[in-house]
Symmetry: C2
Subunit: 415 residues, 2 copies
């Protein structure tokens, strides 16, 4: 008898019929003798509708009140899923983040989980119930409701799986698994049956949109096996496992792209120590993730500082950057929100020189200009014109695909 | 500087524009130097929509899960009202029933408040904030969410006013106040500027639908002055005050009617002590309020037992009654859900004989048959055919209205 955490996203519980289907899936798992903890998101477009309401009553809704508002979406879903289970004769109970005891910090709209109380869930499982937990939400020590940011239900599911030492965390979603590239852009992209946490983390961060990066980070940290599956099709999906469980690392596992990117450039920053620290620590304090950072040396005492942030953070980023720039003696802050990012990811990259060069070559062959580059041990990212993004993904995918060039190893293939 | 509790119903917060208007009202009160605690209901038809969703996924939704579901409606409202206040520059904070500490028993969908913690509200008021509290909901000692039943937000408001020793509890609603009869039925009905808790309690119980009975009961118990006002018009409305504050009692204050009535008759019950106790204690245990009870003596060892319940409780009532009846040796349980109730209410009735007789006379003159009668010190109710209900209200109102008969005192008039 295993303990299984199953997470169903917003599309999977988008209407009453789908909720009944989700209940049938859960009932099957329970029928096979397993104990089940379910995590659900808000139905369909609920979150967007609530945000729209918020903006109709307030120009800049306070983040605390946004979380009070948005957390209702998941609360509706858990009640309905528990009801649908009861209708099938499966004893079930719904619990909010507060009721479970998902304790977070006080960063409203993007809170981080600090600890999870497992007492109540344990009691309910003991009593033979399926426990249906609201994803995406938590509670501060002062009992204020927080949310974990977009896609936070994945994080809830993985954190619960870690806290409960579950055997597997199944993430049901509207795609059948993780592909070598977005199949809407690269029709011949292949499904990956297994991938490492590290690779998935890069893919998730880079916009593959299957799992929230924070959830993969947590899974890696606690060794949680994530099984990404379709809510609508009975296919095997993709298992995300610790590196050690993989027989061998692929050089390039997948190609991914991201449109939620904006570029900010500060012109003529004084070229002295502490400048970058000053700016990026203020951005971090505001909870803004800075991605690529490039500093271009000039022939004088100043330098240009280029970095990228999520487009959704651009407004706040510019506010902070302009203030800091003015204090540093420059007022020239430029930005561009028509850029996109294409990346290759693969755990074997570090031991295969020339991979980055091959990517640059593929882009150059299409006449696509690279505005910035960033690399890690298992990924290479290039910032380019958003207009050329899909073309770039196809070119890079083809450059690494099996048979693309005979002198190259067959880089992308499912195992 | 007074402490004012203001409650806004579902229609008052029915859409973003109305929420902004509610925020302006609150801002005015605060601008006049008062501390304000606001209680709000779910927006418009939210509760009905949620109930509809529940019934689409489950034939008999568990009450605990219904409360989990329904309580989201008020949570949405409080967040939006707090946001709309912030937008006007008024510092505000929303709190759920759980966050306030509105502790109830565990009777889901019709819970009763046991105690209220005032600590958090006190701190927020101290910090200069308007506190926006979710009506209708509470929390059990085991941290499960409960709701107080339809109209429960009134109860929340009055209970908070009592716990905080507020100067007044203003209930904003979609009517301008309490009338001598329903103005949709009796166009010349008059607005009552003041009424006693006792009279209002009878009116509320009898279906005047302006205030929830439980809220008036609480107000009477703790001496809370309720001020019923329109959300949409700037009129003075009706004050509901302790009896002692009234100069004199009117014989008949108002005429009211109720359609949410069903009649149940148990035929041939053994005529021995303990039978009524047996049945009505089981109904009470299920949380069902029994209203009129009439026992008709026969020429033999059995009797017929007639009683009324809310139509919404009929199904459950029949289940229990049939079981108990079978145990008592009779299976003949009849019911009728096409009845209605017309009542007169007035604190001066007890010292004016002949009031009941005049009411029966008015109904007889219209050829309306009375199926059952119940009386208290300040009211007389008649159960009649629902089809004749409006006609009955008009006839009774006219019989007691000023000038209707010169030998009668002018019974219904605003003071």
């Amino acid at each position: 008898m295993a303990l299984v955490v199953q997470k169903f996203g917003g599309t999977s519980v988008g209407n009453p019929e789908r909720i009944r289907e989700v209940a049938r899936r859960i009932a099957e798992t329970r029928g096979a003798g397993h104990r089940v903890v379910v995590v659900v998101s808000a139905m369909g477009h609920t979150t967007d509708q609530l945000l729209d309401l918020a903006h109709q009553v307030c120009r800049r809704p306070p983040r605390r009140e946004l979380d009070m508002l948005l957390s209702t979406g998941e609360q509706v879903s858990i009640a309905l899923v528990a009801m649908a289970l009861e209708d099938l004769g499966v004893p079930a109970i719904s619990l909010t983040g507060a009721q479970v005891g998902i304790h977070t910090d006080g960063m409203y709209t993007r809170a981080r989980i600090r600890r999870i109380s497992t007492g109540r869930i344990g009691e309910e499982l003991e009593a033979g119930r399926v426990v249906v937990v609201a994803g995406f939400q938590g509670i501060t020590d002062g009992w204020d409701i927080t949310t974990l940011g977009r896609g936070g239900s994945d994080t809830t599911a993985v954190a619960l799986a870690a806290a409960l030492q579950a055997d597997v965390c199944e993430i049901y979603t509207d795609v059948v698994g993780v592909f070598t590239a977005d199949p809407r852009v690269v029709p011949h992209a292949r499904l990956l049956p297994v991938i490492s946490h590290g690779e998935m983390l890069e893919l998730a961060s880079l916009g593959a949109a299957v799992l929230q990066p924070r959830s993969v980070e947590l899974a890696a940290q606690y060794g949680v096996v994530i099984h990404v599956r379709s809510s609508f099709e009975r296919r095997e999906g993709t298992r995300v496992v610790p590196e050690a469980n993989l027989e061998k690392a692929m050089v390039v596992t997948g190609v991914t792209h991201d449109r939620n990117v904006a570029k900010v450039t500060v012109i003529d920053v004084p070229d002295r120590p502490g400048v970058a620290f000053r700016l990026f620590s203020e951005l971090a304090a505001a909870g803004i993730n800075v991605d690529m950072i490039v500093q271009t040396a000039k022939q004088q005492a100043t330098t240009d500082l280029l970095f990228t942030v999520a487009r959704t953070d651009l407004e706040q980023t510019l506010e902070i950057t302009r203030r800091v720039a003015a204090e540093l003696g420059t007022r020239d802050v430029r930005h561009d929100d028509t850029v996109g990012k294409v990346s290759i990811v693969g755990a074997g990259m570090v031991s295969n020189p020339g991979v980055a060069a091959r990517m640059f070559g593929a882009l150059a062959a299409q006449g696509i200009n690279i505005q910035a580059i960033s690399t890690s041990e298992i990924k290479v990212s290039c910032l380019i014109d958003e207009q050329r993004l899909e073309e770039a993904v196809r070119a890079v995918h083809d450059a690494f695909a099996p048979g693309a060039a005979s002198e190259q190893p067959a880089l992308i293939q499912p195992r």
